[in-house]
């Protein structure tokens, strides 16, 4: 996993609530057996028309959008399916953080495993961000805060272990693999076997 400590970027704003993972990456793109180039499928049905042409006016189609690392979205972002293809496609497109007042559970867990930082902020900060697309924002994983253009710092919650993995650029699998002996002990000492 890519190492992330902090990064600064202009924001792209998607002013839609309850953006589900079928919008983030439609099911027909899930037939891939790799992760290569999956960013092309990001929001496919909102970015492209029936003829495959980019739809003008959609925030991620704006010139320069592919250089922006921060997506600000309406509440309950990432609801729906558990498809990890959703954070994969966001990451491949270039996004490294999603900011909202609420982010769905499974999507949040999947994102943290893929160097995509889910940032939860209060309503007031969120409203300001939604009203100011293109604002230069810093996401500081180390300090657990975002910093707005006027210097204001807003803390965000992030699981300590996930944060550690993102800061070090290591994936969580390593830690789990170190537990194999304890897992064997658990299996041998259970009062029942599955």
């Amino acid at each position: 996993m890519e190492q992330l400590t902090q990064f600064t970027s202009a924001t792209t704003v998607l002013a839609i609530d309850d953006v589900d993972t079928d919008q983030i990456i439609p099911a027909r793109f899930l037939t891939t057996t790799t992760r290569d180039g999956i960013g092309k499928a990001l929001f496919a049905d909102w970015r492209y028309d029936a003829n495959g042409k980019l739809i003008e006016g959609f925030p991620l189609n704006e010139p320069g959008a592919e250089d922006r690392k921060i997506l600000v979205a309406g509440r309950n972002f990432g609801c729906g399916s558990s498809r990890e293809h959703a954070p994969w496609s966001l990451h491949d497109f270039g996004i490294r953080a999603v900011i909202s007042t609420e982010i769905a559970d499974i999507f949040r867990n999947n994102s943290l495993k893929n160097g995509l930082v889910p940032v939860i902020v209060d309503r007031e900060t969120h409203q300001w961000l939604m009203a100011n697309p293109g604002a230069e924002v810093t996401v500081d994983v180390e300090a657990r805060e975002i910093r707005l253009p006027d210097g204001k710092a807003v803390t965000f919650p992030i699981d300590g272990f996930a944060r550690h993995c993102i800061l070090e650029g290591v994936d969580q699998t390593g830690y789990l693999l170190q537990q194999q002996d304890k897992i064997t002990e658990f299996e041998n000492n259970r009062s029942w076997q599955p």
Partner: protein
């Protein structure tokens, strides 16, 4: 010390290494169900790092999402004829991965192939007290047995394959107390749709729900599965129902259920899982279903739902509401009934079991699907298909003019050849009505099997209580 809930008992029983401030718990998984869509990258990871599957005996593998629902007589040739090359490749990859890693695959021609969340309970692999995961969010279905079932991403699929464990932090708990006797024509699907309408698509986020109360006790296992299945649509981590005699009778004699002395011991343990009388929950919701009507969604998430006799809510200016009714081409303050229907889909892990098929047959018997409607009825598994045919349900379906298909996820999610065309409106017994879910530009109305069947006959969205 207060008593423990069902969820707490199952949680505590699976902690290998307790969570700390700095680290999540190492959490053991008793049953890992896998399918062709969310596994390729996980198996690639194992291959690249030289790891083996730790417990192939605890993996249940099948193919369901991208598979065609027309008859497959031979894997190789037929796949080329009926599938796009990418899904065909993915299916072949599944076969290859299972062979390479020593996992038994319920593939084409297998008596037990079907939708992941249908076959687990069928073969008795889903049991009370187990932790059950799958790279599919409707893993919550298995909670109907008092198991803790939840969806995971592909990376976590790799974790479970390699270590049989996940890293987890303990979620919060929510009790949903359901009382009242269901009216005729109203079924389990209507209960869960009403609940999601009440608490919202994020109402359960961060929580494991326990469904309790007299209404729940009166439901059969398939009805309980319908309810638990859609827990994720309320944002919940999992949804559970305590095991009781109904659960025991369902499991008795099933292929992977314990036998003999082991069975008696298991039953005793299972019945002890019910929440203690003084167990506490972080949140409690009450739902009285005695006046519950059939429910239909009008918008583009499962929380945008309305009782069938009621109009769509008024437009209060909310942007999400407007976007949704615009996409669905419906109007505020208008009823959903009478809306023209193009397709009716009976199927999916929510409603594709015998209870659902019998309900549909009861309504279609002696009647015809409207000429303007295409109706697909897709059994949840080969076993369900066989049983339905033994009861003659397939003949009722085809006599009415519906298509009777092979098992699979089919039109739930537009990933195989069963898709909606742009603009088509489908009354569907599935679980998600997101924009384009069933095909780009497709419009989905979620409903019960009864409402779907009534609408198929009428050619418009119709109230099943009015079918003569």
């Amino acid at each position: 010390m207060s008593g423990q809930s069902l969820f707490e008992k199952v949680w505590n029983d699976h902690v290998v290494v307790p969570e700390t401030d700095d680290t999540p718990a190492v959490f053991y998984i008793d049953l890992h169900i896998i399918h062709e869509v969310t596994t390729p990258q996980a198996f690639n990871m194992l291959r690249e790092t030289g790891m083996q599957v730790r417990r192939p005996d605890l993996v249940l593998a099948t193919m369901d999402h991208s598979t065609p629902t027309v008859p497959i007589t031979d894997l190789g040739a037929s796949l080329d004829a009926v599938s796009d090359p990418e899904p065909a490749h993915q299916i072949r990859q599944m076969v290859k991965n299972c062979e390479e890693f020593g996992i038994k695959l319920h593939g084409f021609g297998d008596a037990h192939r079907g939708i992941v969340h249908v076959i687990g309970p069928e073969i008795g692999a889903t049991q009370p007290g187990k932790t059950i995961v799958c790279g599919d969010s409707h893993s919550s279905t298995h909670g109907a047995f008092g198991a803790m079932g939840f969806g995971i991403g592909t990376t976590e699929v790799g974790h479970v394959l390699a270590t049989q464990c996940l890293l987890q932090r303990k979620p919060k708990s929510m009790a949903v107390n359901i009382t009242g006797k269901l009216q005729p024509g109203v079924s389990a699907k209507d209960i869960i749709l009403a609940l999601i309408g009440k608490i919202g698509v994020d109402g359960g986020t961060g929580h494991v729900i326990e469904y309790r109360g007299e209404t729940i006790r009166g439901l059969n296992m398939e009805e309980r599965m319908t309810i638990c299945n859609m827990s994720i649509e309320a944002g919940a981590r999992a949804g559970m129902i305590a095991p009781d005699e109904t659960t025991i009778e369902f499991l008795r004699g099933r292929e992977q259920a314990p036998q003999g002395e082991d069975w008696d011991k298991a039953v005793e343990r299972w019945l002890s899982l019910a929440s203690d009388p003084d167990a506490t929950f972080d949140r409690e919701i009450d739902l009285d279903v005695s006046q519950l009507e059939p429910q239909v969604t009008f918008g583009t998430n499962p929380g945008m739902v309305v009782p069938i006799s009621q109009p769509i809510p008024s437009d209060s200016g909310d942007a999400s509401f407007r976007k949704a009714i615009n996409y669905m081409q419906v109007n505020a303050d208008q009823p959903m009934t009478g809306t023209r229907v193009d397709v009716v889909f009976v199927g999916s892990c929510t409603n594709s079991r015998m209870t659902d098929l019998r309900s549909v047959a009861g309504i279609l018997d002696g009647r015809k699907v409207a000429n303007s409607v295409r109706m697909l009825i897709v059994p949840g598994s080969q076993s369900v298909k066989d049983e339905a045919e033994a009861e003659g349900l397939d003949k009722i379906f085809t006599a009415a003019g519906a298509e009777w298909r092979e098992a699979g996820c089919s039109m739930c999610l537009g990933m195989n050849s069963d898709k909606l065309g742009k603009g088509e409106l489908c009354v569907s017994t599935s679980n998600r009505n997101f924009e384009g879910r069933q095909g780009p530009g497709g419009r989905t109305v979620l409903a019960s099997p009864e409402t779907a069947a009534a609408s198929a006959i009428a050619g418009v969205i119709a109230d099943p209580r009015e079918v003569a």
